[in-house]
Amino acid sequence: MKLEFSAADEAFRLEVREFVRTRLPADIKRKVELGLRLEHEDYVTWFRILEERGWITPGWPVEHGGPGWNHVQRYIFDEETLLGGAPRIIASGIQMLGPVLIAFGSEEQKKKYLPDIRHSNTWWAQGFSEPGAGSDLAAVRTSAVLEPDGEHFVVNGHKVWTSYAQWCPMMFALVRTDPAAKPQEGISFLLIDMASPGVEVRPIRMLEGGADLNEVYLDNVRVPAGNLVGELDKGWSYGKYLLGHERTGIAGIGSCKQQLARARRIAAQQGLDGDALLQARLAQFEIELMALEFTALRLLSANQRSRMPAVEASMLKVRGTELRQAIYETLVDIAGPDAVPFSPEVLELAHLGEGVVPEELVALAANCLDSRKITIYGGTSEVQRNLIARAAMEA
């Protein structure tokens, strides 16, 4: 047992910190720190900078271009990039599809798709959720029927909550290929070209004015049979693999730290140093965040791998997301009356100079509202607690 990071880990931390400090473009950093909207361009720019350094695919095996980090290094990387003001790696292709293709894709699929994913040439949309199948993916109803000649699937259905579909030329989707099978069987994992006839993307306007989520309508979309990943009717297991893959970052500890630092910074600017209640709240957050961070590291070291049991991941997610929301609410309290002015345009860097309120405060209320999604997506807090309780009761 040792509380300190190893000298090598500390050196790595400094390396990442220095890299972010020198390579992260100033305007991107400013957007992140002020909570403004990031464009596709911003992500691509930063991801390519990371790719050049070999750091864009921490979750991929070394032979496919992963950096070969252990869990502590991955943790340090997440924390340092976020505290340094870098955007999160949010690309579904990198985070989700890559590992699935590497594990289950054909050689041809790997060759065709992985390089473009790594170089951020192709962004992928995730086509899992459907109306009526939010936290319950086994209820997927979008159908894919293989044509008699075996050359194409014909896909019909309706996907929702598809992040960044407006930036994605491709989508990976769960589709039902055997309607007679039990809910969790008869599902396949399909790659769909978004330019195909019959695909329609409709943005969903969100309550804070953003529109990065979409509905995707699939109307007799013809998909080449070669776009099936793995075996027919086995898509459910690939989907579960995918969802289980990225659990180390699930608690969002780096984001929590980023927001808590923001809260302290703005509180000082607003002259709230002497507000004993606020300071006690921030200190309490700091302690709870510390407990969360140590728990993540402890569970990771106990498992000695980046895949973590689902229950442990659920515990980290519940705690991390609820803590983050509490910090965002405190940010609104810190803003006071300056949380009131808002229109979606103020989230554009270009409009910052026109600020009705100090620029540090422009996005706080919108960020707080936007943060409500984190206890909903990726399995609601309610579903996570059901799972945690079930495990505790069975143990």
Binding site: G209, L277, S381
Partner: protein, 377 residues
């Protein structure tokens, strides 16, 4: 101690409810108003007497009191409507009615009641958070009146107002209670710049820049330097109306949520069958009862003569309204799942309004301190 509503009360509430049901269709509640909608709703409110509700009959008013304002505000909370009611009638209008000379009242109150003039109150300043006594805007005596210099912030409905009631200092230092004076400034006055902007809840507010705006002596409301008590009273009236809005909004939020839980299924079972969600609805129902009692108490305290009681009751009500309103808005979003995050679903609009209300006219922390200070006095 009597919390019962009489038949006149119920009739008023019913009439406003019917007006709101007609003017604010369910699926558009919370959306920004078009110019047409705003004009039509204003005309409707004038016709119903809502825009003159508390004013003396001699000036076109209905001579009704805080309880009636509360009942109307609850209904506006329900439909996320009300336009200039809070800013123009409850705050600015009542300040005019309290401080104005007969000539001043004659000049502006009937127009306000008819909807032909909008009036807004410019009380707060940048950097002062919720301390309305921290006024740095100065009124310097000049030939025939005063010249105003300073900045006022977050004037609700400020860019639609034809008349702005500007709180400025004729003596004393920022933070002092003495020396505050209210000036009625026309929107077009040279030296006054009005900068309108959107607010989080789809409404409008404005910052004012006063750079040598000249006003005549006839534009002083009441005695120079003596306006503090009346300003505080109408800010309390505004806060109490916000508490009533919270009651209406939470009521609507609860209806939406119950409807969603009863109809939406997960894992093949209606959400209403999940005990965790049931208990959250129970907590919402309990909170709603508490909020209802406190908006009544605040309204009754406004009607009473004792300023200390009024401060205590209004601040107590606003603490709960700010805390519970925001929390229940968030809880309703969570119970609606991803759908609750969309602009299309109404719960997000309620959550935004509730969040904004929490930050207006003193947040929970401000009012908790104010409440406690009254105890210690």
């Amino acid at each position: 101690m009597d919390f019962s509503l009489n038949e006149d009360h119920l009739a008023l509430a019913d009439a406003v409810r019917r007006f709101c049901d007609g003017e604010y269709p369910l699926q558009h509640r919370g959306n920004p108003e078009s110019t047409d909608e705003a004009a039509r709703r204003l005309a409707g409110m004038a016709e119903m007497g809502l825009l003159g509700l508390p004013f003396p009959a001699a000036f076109g008013g209905g001579e009704l009191g805080p309880v009636e304002i509360m009942l109307a505000a609850r209904e506006f909370g329900r439909c996320l409507g009300g336009g200039p009611f809070l800013s123009g009638v409850v705050m600015a209008g009542q300040l005019l009615a309290r401080l104005g000379s007969d000539a001043q009242k004659e000049a502006w109150l009937p127009a306000l009641a008819q909807g032909s003039l909008q009036v807004a109150l410019a009380a707060y300043e940048d950097g002062a958070r919720y301390d309305w006594q921290r006024v740095a805007t100065r009124a310097v005596p000049a030939a025939g009146g005063y010249v105003l210099h300073g900045r006022k912030s977050l004037v609700l409905n400020g860019d639609a107002a034809g008349l702005l009631l500007v709180v400025a200092r004729t003596s004393g230092e920022a933070g002092e209670r003495r020396g505050l004076t209210v000036f009625a400034v026309d929107a077009g006055t040279p030296g006054l710049a009005v900068r309108g902007f959107d607010t989080l809840d789809g409404r409008r507010a404005a910052h004012l820049a006063l750079d040598g705006a000249a006003v005549g002596a006839d534009r002083v409301l009441g005695c120079a330097g003596e306006a503090a008590d009346d300003i505080e009273a109408v800010l309390d009236a505004g806060a109490a109306a916000l508490c009533a809005e919270v009651v209406g909004a939470v009521e609507a939020l609860m209806e939406h949520t119950v409807e969603h839980l009863r109809t939406r299924k997960q894992f093949g079972v209606p959400l209403a069958r999940f005990q965790v969600l049931q208990h959250r609805v129970a907590d919402m129902a309990i909170a709603l009862e508490m909020l209802k009692s406190m908006d009544c108490a605040a309204a009754m305290a406004l009607a009473g003569a004792d300023a200390a009681t009024r401060r205590r009751m209004v601040s107590a009500a606003k603490v709960l309204a700010s805390q519970q309103g925001r929390q229940l808005g968030m809880a309703a979003i969570q119970m609606h799942g991803a759908m609750g995050m969309t602009d299309e679903c109404r719960v997000g609009h309620y959550a935004k309004r509730l969040m904004v209300i929490g930050q207006l006219l003193g947040d929970a922390g401000h009012h908790l301190r104010r409440f406690d200070a009254q105890r210690q006095n």
